[in-house]
Symmetry: C2
Amino acid sequence: MAGAGLSLVRHPDIRYLFFGEEPAIEEQIARHPRLSEKCEIVHTDVAVAMDQRPSQALRKGRWKSSMWLAIEAVKEGRADAVVSAGNTGALMAMSKFCLKTLPEIERPAIAAIWPTVSAECVVLDVGANVGADAGQLIDFAVMGAAMSRALCELERPSVGLLNIGVEEVKGLEEIRKAGAALRTCDPPFRYHGFVEGDDVGQGLVDVVVTEGFTGNIALKTAEGTAKQIGAYLRAAMNRSMFARIGAFLAQGAFRALKDKMDPRQLNGGVFLGLNGIVIKSHGGTDATGFASAVDLGYDMARSGLVARMSDDVARFHDALDLDSVA
Amino acid sequence: MAGAGLSLVRHPDIRYLFFGEEPAIEEQIARHPRLSEKCEIVHTDVAVAMDQRPSQALRKGRWKSSMWLAIEAVKEGRADAVVSAGNTGALMAMSKFCLKTLPEIERPAIAAIWPTVSAECVVLDVGANVGADAGQLIDFAVMGAAMSRALCELERPSVGLLNIGVEEVKGLEEIRKAGAALRTCDPPFRYHGFVEGDDVGQGLVDVVVTEGFTGNIALKTAEGTAKQIGAYLRAAMNRSMFARIGAFLAQGAFRALKDKMDPRQLNGGVFLGLNGIVIKSHGGTDATGFASAVDLGYDMARSGLVARMSDDVARFHDALDLDSVA
């Protein structure tokens, strides 16, 4: 609620639909008076548990759960985006079932916004599915480029395929095949070639494409490394009197650094490839983090992401002949 | 050469065999007089190029190249370990061909030492092969545990399988299968369960097991993130006069932090599963980095790594019945 309140300050034209236990929601809204004029509560006492299997969630509580009702609101045009901090697998399964994927897309992907030394990079898939064939990787590239265009207003974002070397002969067969196809066709972005794990944070490309297992591990490894270095830094700044005085004088700089490294600033995985905008917020985040996820949904909706992505995908699918490079 | 000299200071009982162009090596040794008493030069003018395909390197220059001769010296007992900064793929192919794998091991792996908030973690495979089945992952676990034992003197290191969630139902089938097998048998280490990308740097376990594609991308992502945060930190410490004064006062702390984050301190991938010790140093490193790789080879040889690993693998392979959990 506090997060929704923060986002409302930044985007006064937002309107909220809250799905869940009405008394609990009302109690929270009472603490954020501005919110009460801008929202509507849809009561339900069915919730998807965090440990529920996606297939279970789809079968059991489907029609009445807060998650389902929220997604349905997007489908019926009563909402422009759904933001949820709930069970990721269930959210994806319900989104697919309710909103359906774009006609040409077999599998949606989850895209993350990855901070880089120069700006931001869209990385996908970070965990919707394990594994992807060449055609799916190319779909991810088109979807990621559309998101990058919407988010960063880049006309022709650059796209790289994540691999374990930059030479054409390296890595998984699907990646090599996708790379060969992208070289010979005319995609709606600049195809950069293969990129490696250390290129992502350097901002070498605007979009990094990988399958969900590797993408998830890369993302979490980067988060873990940032946390680890934060711990080193705190320890280093406490090791002597000089260091403590230095840290005190440089506290403005440290605050800026902390903001830069703050995972809450870029909270929110975007489900791409669906007929609607679905944002997954980190479960463990606070108001700042949740507000970032809401902002992201707002920006995606504002930019007309789904329509543009749908156009891109349809046009490119007609032009692409993947079998010719098999 | 300077790196070899550094290691010699730390380990005065080291003796070197240098393989390559004799005049060039002699010229370099002349600058490190202490080295000249401790080394022998084996001349060859055949070198494996960095861009040569492993299969090519094996066919063409095999019998005369510096890389092959150095590996052969380990095979023939004239050296205890080989350290090379050359072509990784060729080094692995030649090592397999010349030294052979341990009887029970199908595939060697490359292990990296990953700094954590508490100590160090052995991560493997970081790029010897793409993909691994359940049996190979279990072999990696046994080999990684043996290395951790040799390196950190832990009697029963803890081992985790890298996955995209800690629940038993998540991730790739091979990983789930390996996990199920490790739960039901009695491995020569503590099996922790699944770990995620952000657990590695937190030092949750002593050994992290994954297949080579994911491992390589995780390692490079962590290196890239560390470099990225280093850049943020430098920028932050330059943004105002106070920050600069603070940074000046805290320079001792920053130096300690830099050491901690310095990838040269833990340079060297260890090829595990072979009848001999082979260390791959980063190609782009300097004397400090190369000395770390030499130190690692020294420690591995001193600890009798190969013999102990060979024992562990043989004993555990007899006890393990992977088919029963298939």
